[in-house]
Amino acid sequence: MAKVLLKGNEALAEAALAAGCRFYSGYPITPQTEILEYLSWRMEEVGGEFIQAESELAGINMVLGAAAAGARALTTSSGPGFSLKQEGISYLVAADLPAVIVDVMRIGTGLGDIAQGQGDYWQLTRGGGHGDYHTLVLAPASVQENADMMAEAFDLAEKYRHPVLIASDAAIGQMIEAVEIPEFKEHDINKFDWTIKGCKKGTEQRKIQNVYYTHPDYEGYLTEKYRQMEQEQRYETVQVEDAELVLVAYGISSRVCRETVEIAREEGLKLGLIRPITLWPFPVKAFEEAKAARAFLTVEMNILGQMMDDVKLAVGSGYPVDHYGSIFEIPESDGIIAKAKEMLKKEGK
Amino acid sequence: MGKERNEKVYTNPVRCKGCGYCIHACPKEAIRVSDHVNAKGYNTIIVDEDKCTVCGTCYRVCPDYVFEIR
C-alpha cells in the first residue's frame, strides 16, 4: 500500500480497522478526539459498529461486552478520561478478555491541559485500576508506529486474553507524517470458543466472569500468565554499548533523544539511548547492553520522572539515575546534554 | 377446576428453603409444613393431595423450583 499523509490519531484509527477491529466506543476528549471522529464515519464503511458513548465508563464497558462477544474492540481516551476507563480495564483483566485501549496522553493531574505530556506512565504501567494486575503497554514514537502497533496490540491481547494499552501522546496523535497502513485483515468473531454466542443444549455454558471464581488454581494460573507476558519486552537501543551515560526515553521524547545522542557524540560526549517500546513489561534486558554506562537519565514529559522507578529497578543500586523533565514542551537536546554533563561531572568526569 | 386429568403435583424437598410462599398462596390450603428437615436444615412442605386441585399456584410462587406439575 502506498504511503499517505495522516495525523497520528487517524493513522491509529485506520490501522485498528486494518487489524480487524469492528467495534469502537469512545467519548470526546482532547487530544484523542480525532480517533473518535475518524471512526464515526469510517467504521460504518467497513461494516463495523461505532458508538459515541455517554461516558468513558459506558464506553469501556461496551468494549467489555463486544470483546466477550468476540469482536476486536477498541476504545480511546486521554488523561482524565483514561482514569475513568480504569474500572473497565480491571474487569477486562479479571475476566481474561482481550481489548485495546489507547491513552493519547496530555499533561497534568486533574484537568491538566491539552498539551502533550507523559504523565500517565504510572497509571499505564502499575495496573492503574483496583486489584493486582499489569497490562501490556506499547509506546509508539511515530505516526507509522501508531499504525503498526495496532495489529500487534490486538494480537497480543488475544494471545494472552488480556487488555493491551497504547501509550500515545498529544504530539504523536496530532502530528502529520507519511504512513503506510498495514493490509486489512478479517477477524472472525467465532474464532475462539470462549466468546459468548449462545449455549447449545448439552454443551457447556460460557461464563465471562472473574477467573477467580472458576479457575482451580487461580494464583498459579495468573503467576504463569504474567511470567509469560514479562517475556514480551520490546525495545530499541542507540549506541548504548560504549555510552558513558544512557538516556532512557519512550514515545515522542525518544525521538528527540535519538538526535541528542548524535549531537552529543559530535561534541565527544558518549551518550546512548534505550527506548522502551513496551513500558510494561519494562525492557530490563536492554540494560545488559549498557556495559560502559556510569549513569542513566530518563527524559520524560512530566515533573516527577515516573519512569525512573523502573530504570532503578533495572540497573540496581550502583548507578545514579536522574530525570530530565519538560512540561508543556517536548524536551530539547540542549537541555538534555547540559543535564547529562552535569550528572557525569558529579560522577567525577 | 376439577381433577379430570392425570397430572399431579410432585415436590422436590431437597430444594426447599422453607419460605412458606406456597403455603401462603395455596387457594385450597393444601400445603403445610412437615416434620421433615432437609439437608440444608429447612423444614420442608407436604401437599395434601385430597385438597389439591393442581392449579399451579405453588409452582408459580416457589423461588426454589420445589414443585413440578406433570
Binding site: A68, I196, K207 | P63
Partner: protein, 245 residues
C-alpha cells in the same frame, strides 16, 4: 397443564436466601426463552451482588459485568451479535443509581437490548442500604431512622421518568403472588418479542422480595410488596411503542 421449570434452570440451590425473588425471576426468564425457542441464543449480562449468582442459576452464556454497567455491556454485545437476544439483568441500585447514565442513554439511543430490573427497594448484598427506590420512612441500614424524602428524595419511578423517551417497551410487574408472576411473565415475553423484532430498548421492572434485608419473614415481604410497594410503583405497561404508532 404441565408446569416444570425449564432445563436452562440449573437448580444449583445457590446462595439465594429463603424467599429471595431472584429464583422467581430466573424461572420467568427461562420459561419465556423456552417458549420462544431462544434458550440456545440468549446472551445474558448480570450485575454484581446477589443477581450475579444467576450466572450459575441458568445455562445461558453469561457475562458478569461491573456494577451498574450491564446495560452498557449488553449494548456492546448486541452490536457484535445482532441476531442473538441480549438481556441485562440488574437491580434497582444498578439501574437507577450507579448505572443511571447507562440506563438513560441506552433508552435515549433506543438501543435494542432488554433490561430486566429487579426492584427490591434496597441494596441487598451489601446488607440492605437505602436505594433510590426505598420508600419514605423505610428503615434501612443507612437510614436507621427511616428514609427522609426531604434528604434522599422520593422513590424513583421509571414509569414517570422514561415514558417521554422514544423506547420500545416499559412495564412493571410484581413477583408477590401467582397472579403477579403470570403478568410479569407476559411483560417479559412481550419485551423479548419486541426485542427480536428489533424495536429497541425494552425495560421490565419486577417488584421483588428481599426478606433478609427487610428483616421480615418471606411471607411478610411479599405482603409488603402488595400493600406498600405497589402504591408507589404501579403495575402495568407504560410504553408500548408499536401500539402507540
Amino acid at each position: 397443564m404441565r408446569l416444570v421449570a425449564p432445563e436452562t434452570v440449573t437448580f444449583t440451590q445457590s446462595g439465594f436466601c429463603p424467599g429471595c425473588g431472584h429464583g422467581l425471576a430466573v424461572r420467568l426468564i427461562a420459561e419465556v426463552m423456552e417458549e420462544m425457542e431462544l434458550s440456545e441464543k440468549l446472551l445474558a449480562i448480570v450485575d454484581v451482588a446477589c443477581g450475579s449468582l444467576n450466572i450459575d442459576s441458568w445455562r445461558f452464556d453469561t457475562i458478569m459485568a461491573a456494577h451498574g454497567r450491564p446495560i452498557a455491556t449488553a449494548v456492546g454485545v448486541k452490536k457484535v451479535r445482532p441476531e442473538n437476544p441480549v438481556m441485562a439483568y440488574i437491580g434497582d441500585g444498578a439501574a437507577y443509581s450507579i448505572g443511571m447514565a447507562e440506563t438513560m442513554h441506552t433508552a435515549i439511543r433506543n438501543d435494542n437490548v432488554v433490561a430486566i430490573v429487579i426492584n427490591n427497594s434496597l441494596y441487598g448484598m451489601t446488607g440492605g442500604q437505602c436505594a433510590p427506590t426505598s420508600l419514605p420512612g423505610q428503615i434501612t441500614t443507612s437510614t436507621p431512622k427511616g428514609k427522609d424524602p426531604k434528604k434522599a428524595g422520593m422513590p424513583f419511578r421509571v414509569d414517570q421518568a422514561f415514558t417521554g423517551l422514544d423506547i420500545a417497551y416499559l412495564a412493571r410487574g410484581s413477583m408477590a403472588d401467582a397472579k403477579g408472576m403470570m403478568q410479569s411473565k407476559k411483560y417479559i415475553k412481550k419485551a423479548f418479542e419486541k426485542h427480536m423484532r428489533g424495536e429497541g430498548f425494552c425495560l421490565v421492572e419486577l417488584l421483588s422480595p428481599c426478606p433478609t434485608n427487610l428483616n421480615m419473614t418471606p411471607v411478610k415481604s411479599v405482603e409488603r410488596i402488595k400493600n406498600e410497594m405497589i402504591p408507589f410503583f404501579p403495575l402495568g405497561e407504560f410504553k408500548d411503542k408499536k401500539e402507540e404508532e
